[in-house]
């Protein structure tokens, strides 16, 4: 227990200055470029559009996780901040997907062939 509450307050508000190294940032950048090249290559594969959409979104989710974790430093923040931000966002986006998206696939299957 601290006898100096003011000092402890400052410590609590002060950001954690663990922001990674240049080597780490360059590695993340290279990984992001590599995933982009994979995406462009995949785009020329002739697969059904819903399959392609799923694959591309999957790769984009990996890229966004890299950006959020390392470039936006969320990996270095307290777990509480992650819990505040990410599950809520994922829940809201999932609701949009669950409510609206199945209809678009159903419409596609209802087309006259």
């Amino acid at each position: 227990m601290s006898a100096h509450p003011e000092a402890l307050d400052t410590e609590a508000i002060e950001p954690l200055h663990v922001v990674g190294t240049t080597r780490l940032f360059v590695m993340v950048w290279v990984a992001l470029l590599g995933l982009t090249v994979v995406e462009v290559g995949l785009a020329y594969e002739r697969v059904p559009v819903n399959v392609m959409l799923t694959i591309l979104i999957g790769l984009s989710l990996i890229k966004s996780a890299l950006i959020i974790s390392y470039f936006m430093h969320l990996r270095f923040e307290r777990l509480g901040l992650f819990i505040l931000l990410i599950p809520v966002m994922v829940f809201c986006i999932s609701m949009m997907l669950l409510v609206f998206f199945p209809d678009s696939v159903r419409l596609m299957n209802m087309r006259p062939h």
């Binding site: 609590a12 954690l16 982009t36 591309l56 966004s64 959020i68 966002m89 209809d103």
Partner: protein, 211 residues
């Protein structure tokens, strides 16, 4: 405040005496803005994906050159801008003002390159007859979704460029602190992150196989 009250306030992160997330209010505010803005983009992208899947005659106008090559270059520009931005934030936390300003200007340069490339892409499509309500190839919603999504993103990039220019001037002159640079970095990385979804969904899902 009595001594015991002060101890209680300091010891419990949730009692109002400190920040439970160990970040300042500006950074928390930016994170909350990013979450709300990401929901805006998510709604638009989900709506786009809906009509894209449900429209059998969706146009595939993006040939390797210029559409895919240019949009890939734009992706490279934004990813590189994120690298310079994160290096700038790291330099700011080390107290290297001059180096931080240089990184910020490099980020701005990549952002401007993105806007210029994107503007030429818009001009090309407009010359080919694409409007928000029609196009010469197929589903009329193509133009509306393309201009709507990329336009909103380009607006964010433009605001980001202005924000970073103000930050560069303010941090260089000592008006802003390293934390302010970090908050501007969060915004810029978010703009990059959104493009990671727009690029594959708008461009790669509509490539012209014949190219």
């Amino acid at each position: 405040m009595s001594h015991s009250e002060a101890e209680f306030t300091a010891d419990s992160a949730w009692s109002g005496g400190g920040s439970p997330f160990a970040i300042n209010s500006k950074k928390l505010g930016m994170w909350l803005f990013i979450v709300s803005d990401s929901l805006t983009f998510s709604a638009l992208l989900i709506a786009y994906a809906y009509v894209r899947l449900a429209s059998p005659n969706w146009p595939r106008p993006f040939e390797l050159w210029p559409g895919i090559a240019k949009s890939s270059l734009m992706t490279l520009a934004l990813l590189s801008s994120s690298l310079t931005m994160v290096m700038g934030v790291a330099a700011a936390h080390r107290g290297q003002r001059s180096r931080t300003v240089k990184y910020l200007w490099a980020t701005i340069a990549f952002g401007v390159a993105f806007i210029v490339l994107h503007a030429t892409e818009w001009v090309t499509l407009i010359h080919e007859g694409v409007t928000p309500w029609s196009n010469p190839w197929g589903a009329p919603l193509f133009g509306g979704t393309f201009f709507g999504l990329t336009g909103l993103h380009m607006l964010h990039v433009t605001i980001g460029v202005i924000y970073l220019a103000v930050m560069s001037w303010g941090y260089g002159s000592g008006r802003f602190e390293a934390d302010d640079v970090e908050v501007s970095g969060l915004y810029w990385h978010f703009v990059d992150l959104v493009w990671m979804f727009i690029f594959p969904m708008i461009y790669l899902l509509s490539v012209n196989y014949k190219s």
